[in-house]
């Protein structure tokens, strides 16, 4: 089996902070928040959290109707981000027509808005007559992967890694493995998700959402902060183009970074809570596979969603494995937790940090919770050469994913 080098050559992203990577970077550099009070959410009986980080759906009619008809909101985000990534990489849709290019895009679920519309239409009389054919394609779990692959005419591997908040990073990991092994030469990888009151509601039922800042939305989420009270859902898509190092060099592509190591594992312990032992194990395995010494990690982009439990487990795992010196920040204070898209969108921003030799701080981190102390929290924009970084994602089911990336 081959063991090819895998590099990242294209980036595309949409979230509450902007409709392309440049806009998102500018937004984060300006320390803005995309979190808003969401109109109408108080109509959901029992909902505690009324805040979310919506993205703008724009220019969707640039996608021809017959391609767009099967796309819900999330798939449109994914297609637009994928188009940006391809353009950024300087490759064509036609490159995907020879069976050598993969499309691997994950999400927590199918289109939430479409799923809700289907059930509101069908119930309570169980009447199928009013359902459209296209609603099905918008609802299926692999809707983002399906639609991006169809839009580009991709006929290589098409997969959807559904693992909640680890979906995007698992997609990147699968793309990395396929290219490394020689099964594919390049891959569009990432994640997508859409914001809907029922998505927030599913976390709200578990008391995992932020509910104390409904009248001050920009003050939440607060990763690692003493006054954090839970996550804020966002939406969007993050898509990266991975390719073999040889292919990238042959066409003189700009390389954002090389994937040196990837690992995913579960804790096997609890359906919703992470455990610091399994988090540390995941990071440790990614590092071991990368061949990079712990001391060489210049920055950790944390998952840290501002849940009471999760932030503590991650902070302590980072401390136990990497010590107190490596800078750590979470990006969720700017645009919320984009769930299936989070690993990809946050990795894109981390790669941009590497380009700019700048670490973006954890927004809303004003007083570090003492149980999250013992690591180097970045609370101001900081200039630093970043050659090697570690990205974490942790999901329901105790599913962990970590990736090590270095500049080339």
């Amino acid at each position: 089996m081959e063991n090819r080098r895998v590099v990242i050559t294209g980036l595309g992203g949409i979230c509450g902070a902007g409709n392309n990577v440049a806009e998102i970077v500018d937004f984060v550099e300006a320390n803005k928040s995309a979190v808003k009070r969401m109109a109408g959410w108080e109509n959901y009986t029992g909902m505690r959290s009324y805040v979310g980080a919506p993205a703008k759906l724009i220019n969707e009619k640039n996608i021809p109707r017959q391609a767009r008809r099967s796309m819900g909101r999330m798939s449109i985000f994914a297609v637009q981000a994928a188009e940006e990534a391809l353009q950024n990489a300087g490759i064509l849709k036609s490159d995907f027509h020879h069976g050598r290019g993969a499309v691997i895009i994950g999400s927590t679920m199918g289109g939430a808005e479409s799923l809700n519309q289907v059930f509101e239409t069908m119930l309570p009389h169980h009447d199928l007559n009013k359902l459209t054919s296209m609603q099905f394609f918008q609802c299926v779990s692999h809707t983002a992967a399906l639609n991006v692959a169809q839009y580009f005419g991709a006929n290589g591997y098409v997969m959807a890694t559904s693992a909640a908040c680890a979906s995007g990073l698992q997609a990147l990991g699968e793309g990395y493995n396929l290219i490394r092994s020689g099964d594919q030469d390049f891959a569009l990888c990432g994640g997508a998700e859409e914001l809907h009151p029922t998505v927030t509601g599913s976390f709200d039922i578990l008391y995992a959402t932020s509910a104390k800042y409904n009248d001050n939305p920009c003050a939440t989420p607060r990763p690692f902060d003493r006054d954090r009270d839970g996550l804020v859902c966002g939406e969007g898509a993050g898509i990266l183009l991975l390719e073999s190092y040889e292919r990238a060099m042959a066409r003189n592509a700009k390389i954002y970074g090389e994937i040196l190591g990837y690992h995913t594992c579960a804790s096997g312990l609890h359906i919703s809570q992470s455990s610091k032992e399994s988090v540390a194990r995941c990071m440790g395995e990614a590092l071991r596979k990368s061949g990079v010494a712990k001391e060489k990690i210049d920055y950790v982009n944390a998952h840290a969603t501002a849940t009471l439990h999760g932030d503590i487990e991650e902070a302590q795992a980072i401390h136990d494995l990497l010590g107190a010196a490596v800078p750590v920040s979470s990006l969720k204070g700017y645009f919320g937790h984009t769930l299936g898209a989070s690993g990809a969108i946050e990795l894109i921003l981390t790669l941009m940090m590497m380009q700019k030799s700048t670490i973006y701080p954890t927004r809303n981190l004003e007083n570090v919770d003492e149980q999250c102390a013992g690591i180097n929290h970045v609370t101001q924009k900081t200039g630093k050469m970043l050659n090697t970084i570690l990205k974490n994602c942790f999901a329901f089911g105790g599913i962990n994913a970590s990736m090590v990336i270095a500049g080339v």
Partner: protein, 89 residues
């Protein structure tokens, strides 16, 4: 509902649900060749018409013979004449 009302409402379905340019909306236009609908669109066309006219169409065999916009308008007019608009869609 007059015949002209029905024709106008059918045209509205094509413009609103299928983003067809109004200039292409002509009675002789072939739904598939001229207006660009395919077999998957026909499923959604039926649902849109059922919602627009509050009438059941899905299991009506005559749908299969429809080719032009005029065919479709005449079909809906026939349904009205048969008293079908009094049923729930």
């Amino acid at each position: 509902m007059t015949d002209d009302d029905i024709r106008r409402m059918v045209n509205e379905v094509f413009i609103e649900s299928f983003e067809i340019e109004p200039a292409k909306i002509k009675p002789e236009a072939n739904i598939f060749m001229d207006l660009g609908l395919d077999s998957l669109d026909v499923v959604d066309l039926v649902v849109a018409l059922q919602n627009k006219f509050n009438v059941k169409i899905r299991s009506d065999e005559r749908v299969r013979d429809i080719r032009t916009l005029a065919d479709l308008q005449n079909f809906i007019i026939a349904l009205r004449n048969e008293g079908a608009f009094t049923q729930n869609g």
